[in-house]
């Protein structure tokens, strides 16, 4: 009788736990399978998968859509990456806004909105932050995903004790083996993230990409915030772009890619291809360690009293100086990325006339005036051949 009582108790506890597992698991399942709509602009040419350039990621969660906009007019070519680190969502939003509004008059543009797709399928462990944020558009609200920094352990696991970067053999932190921005140039028979890096490199090499732009966001306590990081060959154009932006629009620093820091795109992509490699950072308070409650509002406004205190103590590197009255709103960060990219394109076209590109897409002033949601198209009213899910 007593045994039966114990058994019933255990079954009840197990049932409760399974219900909890279902509730938690359902949320994890939803974010893993969430799809973002994208209504491509009239300049759209075709959409293909990155695995077209390397079979080694075919059928994996690392394979990601690439959107091509080809003017048909000979000129330069650009590969534009958002979502290398999906917990920096202004990069993906900038890519979506570009993909939905771009006009290409000369040259061609390849856009990858979610470069590390696997990392987009989860949140950061232990950080308890929201999985989504909501943008107000002209046609209603749009749910946007916030991902993680590194590829999902469901797709690449276990991590080694020490990650030995290929081919430099430099020792890096173990979790960086799942970090797309530590695995360049990659290899076709390596870890999933190395294979992803390799596929991106193959796209660059096979398509003779002239300009590679990798968008990122940084915490305000990170010295490289509000900065271009330029490979040796792209340093001139980035310096000019930095000066022009700082004089005319917003402060933008420029740094040379360190030669001893391996695996990063601004170093390896430039070293292992002929492209002009550029990485860009905007200020994202959401990922600062000293920020208070990590909420959707913080993601959208960037207003945080702890960061204000840090700013007053001179601990932040963001330019202009952080001010809680303004914060670091989403439209500001997206606008920075769009204008920073445009400025680099302009200077590349100036320095290398044979690589000239003539493009139009919303810029910093447009974003600051109308907000980010204004530039997203309504998927319900889109032509079927222009609507995709990413």
């Amino acid at each position: 009788m007593k045994n039966n009582h114990y058994k019933t108790r255990k079954i009840i506890i197990l049932a409760i736990v399974l219900v909890l597992a279902f509730l938690g698991g359902r949320e994890f399942y939803e974010i893993r399978h969430f799809k973002q709509s994208i209504v491509v602009s009239d300049a759209f040419t075709e959409r293909f998968m990155l695995s077209d350039y390397s079979d080694s990621i075919k059928g994996t969660w690392a394979d990601t859509p690439v959107y091509l906009y080809d003017s048909g007019e000979p000129g330069g070519s650009m590969l534009w990456l958002g979502g290398t680190h999906p917990y920096e969502p202004a990069t993906m939003l900038a890519a979506y806004i570009a993909a939905e509004n771009i006009k290409v008059k000369k040259g061609k543009v390849y856009i990858i909105p979610a470069a590390n797709y696997s990392a987009m399928t989860m949140g950061i462990l232990g950080n308890a932050y929201p999985n989504y944020y909501t943008l107000e558009t002209q046609w209603g609200s749009k749910k946007m995903r916030i991902g993680a920094r590194n590829a999902n352990p469901l797709d690449q696991w276990p991590d080694p004790f020490t990650y030995v970067h290929y081919p430099s053999t430099q020792n890096l932190a173990y979790q960086d083996i799942r970090n797309l921005n530590r695995t360049y140039p990659g290899r076709p028979n390596g870890s999933l993230t190395e294979r992803l890096s390799y596929a991106i490199m193959e796209l660059i090499r096979q398509e003779n990409i002239d300009l590679y732009v990798d968008m990122h966001e940084a915490s305000l306590m990170y010295p490289v915030v509000s900065t271009y990081v330029a490979h040796d060959r792209s340093l001139d154009i980035c310096m000019m772009a930095s000066m022009t932006l700082s004089a005319e629009q917003f402060p933008m620093k420029c740094e040379a890619s360190p030669k001893s820091l391996r695996g990063l795109s601004h170093r390896e992509v430039g070293d292992f291809s002929d492209t002009l490699a550029v990485l860009m950072e905007t200020p994202e308070p959401f990922i600062d360690r000293v920020a208070g409650r990590i909420t959707e509002e913080l993601m959208l406004t960037g207003k945080d009293e702890f960061l204000q205190t840090a700013s007053e103590a001179g601990l932040l590197y963001a330019q202009p100086e952080y001010d809680i009255e303004f914060g670091s709103p989403m439209e500001y960060r997206v606008g920075r990325h769009l204008s920073s990219t445009m400025e680099v394109i302009k200077w590349m076209s100036d320095f290398f006339p044979e690589k000239e590109m003539i493009l139009e897409f919303p810029l910093y002033e447009d974003l600051m005036e109308k907000g980010a949601g204004y530039f997203l198209q309504d998927p319900a009213k889109a032509d079927k051949d222009k609507l995709f899910y990413n």
């Binding site: 108790r9 255990k10 197990l14 736990v17 909890l20 994890f28 080694s56 469901l154 696991w157």
Partner: protein, 57 residues
């Protein structure tokens, strides 16, 4: 190398499933720590292994 990497990756899922089964067994058939609290601990500890084995988390 690709094959080995994939094999190790899959072994981890299998291990997760084995641990989930061991914990389930421990919940119902254990010789020590028989109190209510330990029932909860054993049952609750199954969740991460179960979700991993099901490729959910």
């Amino acid at each position: 190398m690709l094959f080995l990497t994939e094999l190790i990756h899959q072994i981890y899922f299998i291990l997760a499933a084995i641990f989930a089964i061991l914990l389930l067994r421990g919940l119902f058939k254990r010789g020590t720590r028989k109190t209510f609290i330990y029932d909860i601990v054993y049952a609750y500890s199954i969740i991460p292994f179960l979700l991993r084995a099901l490729h959910i988390k």
